[in-house]
Amino acid sequence: MKINFKNMTINQKLALFTLVLGFLALFFRDPLKAKIITVNSSEIALKVQDKSSNISVEELADWLIRKKADFKLIDLRSEAKFNEYNIPSSINMSSTELLSLKSSKNGKILIYSDDNLQAAEAWYLLKSKQYKAVYLLSGGINAWKDKILFPSISSNASADVKAQFAKLSEMSKFFGGSPRILSGDNSASAEVKMATPKIAPPPSAPAGKGGKAKRDGC
């Protein structure tokens, strides 16, 4: 059967046009799916579970001291709080600004807030926007203050803890903080000075606290 376009009625032409459009529709990407964010839920669940996306404040302090610059440090707190105090090299951003973040999807991003909760939300947000390397500062700025700026130690702590504390004290001074010794035992600080700093993570009280805070955040 030969179809003569000129002999068709207007209705038949419209029907043909509709058929062509309908057929073309098969070859376009789904407009609804393009808008919907797909999340690799098992990857996220795994990261939440093994805490591999968590960076401890000690680690961050170490990076900053070594002047590592391969990461973006983002402060999610209010502008007022940010201006009052912020971790060196950080930039202030709100969660909505974070949505329009122009940054490489593969670049390392470390986010922090007062504690873990807000940062965890932002972490999820960035993860769902396919940012590959998003990290969470474990315990947030509170942990930073507790452990890096004003680390404390009780005078009857074990030698291991004291060794770690010596390292923390140095870090603290680097960032302009002041380490504290909780009970007034003079021998404690002397012992700390003599001990060699260890790099292994300490089984100390502050670290335990940090671990708990991580769980809260996730």
Binding site: L19, L21, G22, A25, F28, D30, P31, L32, K35
Partner: protein
């Protein structure tokens, strides 16, 4: 980016203004298609005149293709369109009731307003019936509340429900519509009265 209202291009007052303009256009086209007369509307149930079916399906296909391609080319955010919630069983029951009313009264709610505006007396009575029905429904609502909220499927769309791409649904609906048009033409030839008579009757 469409839909303009959802993206705050204008407020609800301006929105009502546009609704007014579009509503007048909608009514005008319904009237011009012959939807202002109960005889024509009821004739479709006897396969005598399937204009209503053809006009409605044309509207569906036009809107669907328009929305689809506007979204594909980034002029519209399809996820911002309002989707009414599906309550499958109550909606089947309600649909059957509306259908029975349609056959008996000769109008659906929208076309009864169109017919009213052209001064059809039967449409005035039909419209009184519509408001009476709304009133009775509201009064009975406490008794049927559980039923009317049952089988809630949420804001479900066909691509999401059948988990197949949007484009395939678009294509299938186009095929269905074109098949429907061909079928309607065939039925009109077989069951319909002569077109000349219809025009004279009006």
């Amino acid at each position: 980016m469409m839909p303009y209202f959802k993206f705050d291009y204008f407020g609800s007052d301006t929105g009502l203004f546009f609704a007014f303009i579009i509503g007048i256009g909608f009514g005008w086209f319904l009237e011009r298609a012959g939807f202002g007369t109960a005889k024509k509307l009821a004739a479709q149930f006897y396969f005598k005149d399937l204009t209503v079916f053809k006009v409605m399906f044309t509207a569906i296909v036009t809107a669907m293709l328009g929305i689809y391609f506007l979204s594909v080319f980034g002029f519209m955010d399809i996820s911002e369109l309002s989707v009414t919630t599906t309550y499958i069983v109550p909606q089947i029951v309600g649909g059957l009731m509306l259908g029975v009313g349609f056959v008996i009264g000769g109008y659906c709610p929208g076309t009864s307003v169109v017919a009213c505006s052209t001064g059809k007396i039967d449409a005035v009575f039909f419209l009184i019936g519509v408001f009476l029905g709304i009133f009775i429904f509201a009064e009975l609502y406490p008794l049927i509340e559980n039923f009317s909220n049952s089988t809630n499927m949420g804001k479900v769309t066909m691509p999401a429900f059948f988990n197949i791409p949007y484009g395939i649904i678009v294509f299938l609906v186009v095929l269905m519509a074109l098949g429907g048009f061909a079928g309607a033409e065939w039925a009109e030839k077989k069951f319909g009265y002569k077109k000349v008579e219809v025009i004279n009757e009006d």
